[in-house]
């Protein structure tokens, strides 16, 4: 019998034998309900937390969680409905205050209630997937207060109205606003967005649209931008004070779109106050403001850049085609530099050194500098002026600054080989007349050119300097060796120039006076004695002479060109010489002779000769007399004409022709190089490759390239492909 009992023995869970009073749940609930009422009526101090907590705990434990929960819902709901009435009843400004106060109270109450019901919050609610107490409290608030028909619309309108007031300059209660907004945010981001943010953005868009229309009609560009900036800053500040931080970018987008993007074009192009005026008048502050505002909108900066580019190109084009300006090359270049400096400063101070604008400036310069085919010549003349006198007494650093500016302009030139030609000519004149302000400055510039363009560009220029040095040594040797023979004949200073390095000159006839001829021949003998196999040719069109002359009682020393010397020396042996006699005796070419006589007889203050008739131009029937009435307050008088000048039309044509001739072999060399590497290539690609290879020196003309190709076909360097006539082959 006991074994059977043993088999049936089970261990059962300990049961708490509590008498479940059917009214127990109701009684307990009533206690809690009463507590909730008291809490809402601000009578919480009389309550015992411990007792209430225990009651709630017991209800849940005894499986009355459902009753507790639903009781909570209905109790809270009824309270909230009352609260809603009181809020709805408040008038005017008190509406928000009442809402705010009640919200604060609700939160306090909710906290207490949650604390009391914490056990339910942690057990019953998760297991039944109900909304936790705190969240429930918020949702109930939302549904019974904020989203009631009467309150919802009124709330939105009130908030937006306050914002508008503030925008109109009135002071509003920001603290209150912040609280209300925070309430919306606490109720859920969708509540904030739907009930406030979306309408706020829509209303703002309308408002700013109106603002922009109003201002654009009544303000100039600078003032409009000031206003726009002010509004933008206001909105940012508004968000910081009483809106959700995530609204900042949304509201700024609205302002940017309505006030800036929609009026962008009109602002930039505004007459008398738009971008162009600001640029012209150096309005750094306004430009900076425009830059900062426009960079916020799509295509803002590009629209500024485009208008600026058009303006620059116009300005530049105007400058390079203005006949008046072009009469003075140095002034012309000075103006170019001025434009560059001005806009560099603008980009630096107002446009944040933005690369986009620097590029626009560079491309515009490149465009208009090359519109004028004389730019290379003028830049060289500018340099010439600086190296002759402009840089006298200037510090080393300032010299470098000027030279760097020259290099900057040089880089824009497409026809760098033309610049090289002129630079050589001008350098030659400077060296031969010893008119260079500083050899260091000369060398510095050549070094910069070498760095920019390579050794080939400057090797001949350096050769010119070498020749000058070598000539000094040669002269020393000459006088050391032959000094005794020369006695008191004219003192000679010879510069021996290597033909390839110096600008090509055509040799001209000129009969030197016998005294000069003697000493020249002595030099020639001496030189060829030490340098056999060389040929020397006197460049009479490049030399100069110092002559002592007596006019009446006054003695003067005249500095003249070689041609002028030859003419003047004739008057030692006769006076009243006709043009033809002078021509015959000197054999100087006609145009040079006329120019020479003009500078001797027709120039005011330098007329060492007198001409009959007294006309301005040299006629072939004129007669010339020694002018013993010549006077000058200086002992030394300079009459020579070896200064570098702007070329005359025919000279310019000649130089251009020589440049074109020089380019032909360069183009051919490029073609051969390319074809040798590629073996077979079609016409368009050859043209593209050649252009690419030569672009550091000049822009080759496609027609010229084609002619060179044909020439190379003639000479059997290349042939056309038998099947495809556009293809060329390299013939080894």
């Amino acid at each position: 019998m006991s074994s059977q009992k043993k088999r049936n023995f089970q261990i059962e869970a300990f049961k708490h034998r509590v008498v479940v009073d059917p009214k127990y749940a109701e009684k307990t609930w009533k206690i809690l309900e009463h507590a909730i009422h008291e809490i809402y009526n601000h009578n919480a101090s009389g309550l015992s937390f411990e007792e209430l907590y225990r009651n709630a705990y017991n209800m849940v434990l005894h499986k009355f969680g459902e009753k507790l929960y639903s009781g909570l819902v209905s109790t809270m709901t009824s309270h909230l409905k009352e609260i809603a009435l009181s809020i709805e009843a408040s008038q005017g400004a008190l509406f928000l205050e009442e809402l705010d106060r009640k919200w604060t109270e609700h939160n306090k109450a909710l906290q207490m209630i949650r604390d009391i019901l914490m056990y339910m919050d942690r057990t019953f609610i998760p297991s039944t997937h109900r909304t936790p107490v705190h969240e429930l409290g918020l949702n109930l608030w939302r549904d019974n207060i904020v989203h009631t028909v009467k309150i919802q619309v009124r709330l939105k309108d009130t908030l937006l109205e306050l914002v508008q007031k503030e925008r109109g300059g009135e002071v509003i209660n920001r603290g209150l606003m912040r609280n209300i907004v925070k309430m919306l945010m606490d109720l859920g981001s969708s509540v904030y967005q739907e009930d406030f943010e979306k309408p706020f953005l829509a209303v703002s868009a309308d408002f700013y649209r109106g603002e922009s229309q109003l201002f654009i009609e009544s303000c100039d560009c600078g003032n409009y931008l000031k206003k726009a900036e002010k509004r933008l800053n206001e909105e940012i500040e508004r968000v910081a004070h009483y809106l959700d931080a995530r609204s900042e970018v949304k509201i700024t987008n609205v302002v940017e779109k309505e006030m800036i993007e929609s009026q962008m074009t009109r602002l930039v192009q505004m007459e008398n106050s738009g971008l162009v005026n600001m640029l012209v008048d150096d309005k750094y502050e306004d430009l900076g403001r425009m830059y900062n505002l426009f960079r916020r909108v799509p295509n803002g900066l590009t629209s500024i850049r485009d208008v600026m580019t058009v303006h620059l190109r116009e300005t530049g084009r105007h400058l390079v085609s203005d006949g008046e300006r072009l009469k003075d090359p140095v002034d012309f270049v000075q103006r170019l530099l001025h434009i560059k400096d001005k806009h560099d400063k603008i980009i630096n101070l107002a446009f944040n050194n933005d690369k986009m604008f620097q590029n626009a400036l560079n491309s515009s310069f490149e465009y208009f500098i090359n519109l004028n085919t004389r730019s290379p010549e003028f830049i060289s003349l500018f340099v010439d002026d600086k190296l002759r006198k402009g840089l006298k007494g200037v510090s080393e650093e300032d010299v470098e600054i000027v030279l760097d500016k020259v290099m900057m302009l040089f880089r824009y030139l497409q026809e760098k080989d033309v610049f090289e030609k002129y630079y050589k000519q001008h350098l030659a004149k400077r060296l031969l007349s010893a008119k260079s302000v500083s050899e260091d400055a000369e060398r510095s510039l050549i070094l910069k050119l070498k760095t920019e363009c390579g050794y080939q560009f400057t090797s001949k220029l350096e050769g010119m300097f070498t020749d000058m040095k070598t000539s000094d040594d040669t002269m020393q040797g000459f006088y050391a060796a032959m000094g005794h023979e020369l006695g008191d004949g004219p003192a000679l200073a010879v510069h021996v120039l290597t033909t390839g390095s110096w600008p090509t000159q055509s040799t001209t006839t000129c009969n030197l006076p016998p005294e000069i001829l003697t000493v020249c021949n002595k030099f020639k003998t001496y030189y060829l004695g030490t340098h056999s196999g060389r040929r020397l040719t006197w460049q009479t069109n490049m030399g100069s002479a110092d002559i002592k002359a007596t006019f009446g009682r006054a003695k003067h020393e005249l500095n003249v060109s070689t041609y002028q010397m030859c003419v003047l020396m004739l008057f030692n042996n006769g006076d009243g010489l006709s043009y033809r006699e002078v021509e015959q005796a000197t054999e100087i070419p006609t145009s040079d002779l006329k120019r020479c006589l003009q500078s001797l007889a027709c120039a005011k203050g330098k007329n060492v000769l007198r001409k009959e008739p007294m006309s301005k131009d040299i006629g072939e029937d004129d007669t010339f007399f020694f002018n013993d009435k010549f006077s000058s307050k200086f002992y030394k008088v300079k009459i020579g004409t070896v200064v570098a000048q702007k070329e005359s039309e025919p000279e310019k044509q000649e130089t251009r022709q020589r440049v074109e001739e020089d380019r032909k072999p360069q183009i051919e060399a490029a073609i051969v190089r390319i074809m040798k590497a590629r073996r077979v290539l079609d016409h368009n690609n050859i043209v593209a490759e050649v252009t690419k290879q030569l672009q550091t020196r000049f822009l080759p003309n496609p027609v010229v390239i084609k002619k060179r190709i044909e020439s190379l076909i003639e000479r059997e360097f290349l042939e056309r492909d038998k099947d495809d006539r556009k293809l060329y082959r390299y013939l080894a």
């Binding site: 079609d682 027609v703 084609k706 002619k707 044909e710 076909i713 003639e714 056309r720 006539r725 556009k726």
Partner: protein, 188 residues
């Protein structure tokens, strides 16, 4: 060597005008180096390749030799051959007058409407000898480019002389920009 007189006699015997273009074709068969001259090797070799061993046969073959010009490929070869044949020995280029004469002859056979304008253009604007490349490219031009120049491609790598010719035609209103030909064959 058969020289000018000999050739004259030959032409008589063949009952052919010495200026007849068929002589060019014959010279081509003979691979003659220069016009108005046949070396013995060229003459004999040429006749052998033609399979001609008597004057009779030669005379009879003349029409068929002439008709070879109708064949496009052969015409091209003969045309290009003509350059080397017509130019002076030792020169690289063909004298303008000779070239013009040759072109007029050749394009009688192979009609090219612009040939007269081409010759006028050269005499007015060029006045220099013609290079081999220009000579051969002209045939390509005549063949591929429409006489109204409607399909002329400026990027077509034509010798610059041809580009200048096109300019000339446009300048003188011979070709309108739209490509309608005005004074070409006397009618539009």
């Amino acid at each position: 060597m058969i020289m000018a007189d000999g050739i004259s006699n030959l032409c008589n015997d063949l009952q052919v005008d010495p200026q007849d273009i068929v002589m060019l074709v014959v010279s081509w068969h003979m691979k003659a180096a220069t016009m108005c001259e046949f070396s013995k090797q060229e003459f004999v070799g040429g006749l052998q390749s033609l399979g001609i061993d008597s004057l009779e046969k030669f005379r009879d073959r003349i029409p068929s030799i002439r008709s070879e010009l109708k064949d496009d490929q052969k015409f091209k070869e003969i045309y290009n051959f003509a350059f080397g044949w017509a130019k002076e020995k030792g020169q690289k280029s063909l004298a303008l007058d000779t070239a013009i004469g040759m072109w007029q002859l050749l394009f009688e056979e192979k009609q090219w409407p612009l040939v007269e304008h081409w010759c006028q253009f050269l005499q007015a604007r060029h006045n220099k000898a013609i290079s081999r490349d220009t000579w051969s490219q002209l045939l390509e031009f005549a063949r591929s480019v429409d006489p109204t120049l409607s399909n002329y491609d400026a990027e077509g790598a034509w010798p610059y002389l041809l580009d200048e010719f096109v300019e000339y035609l446009k300048e003188n209103g011979i070709i309108q920009q739209k490509g309608r030909v005005l004074d070409l064959l006397g009618h539009i």
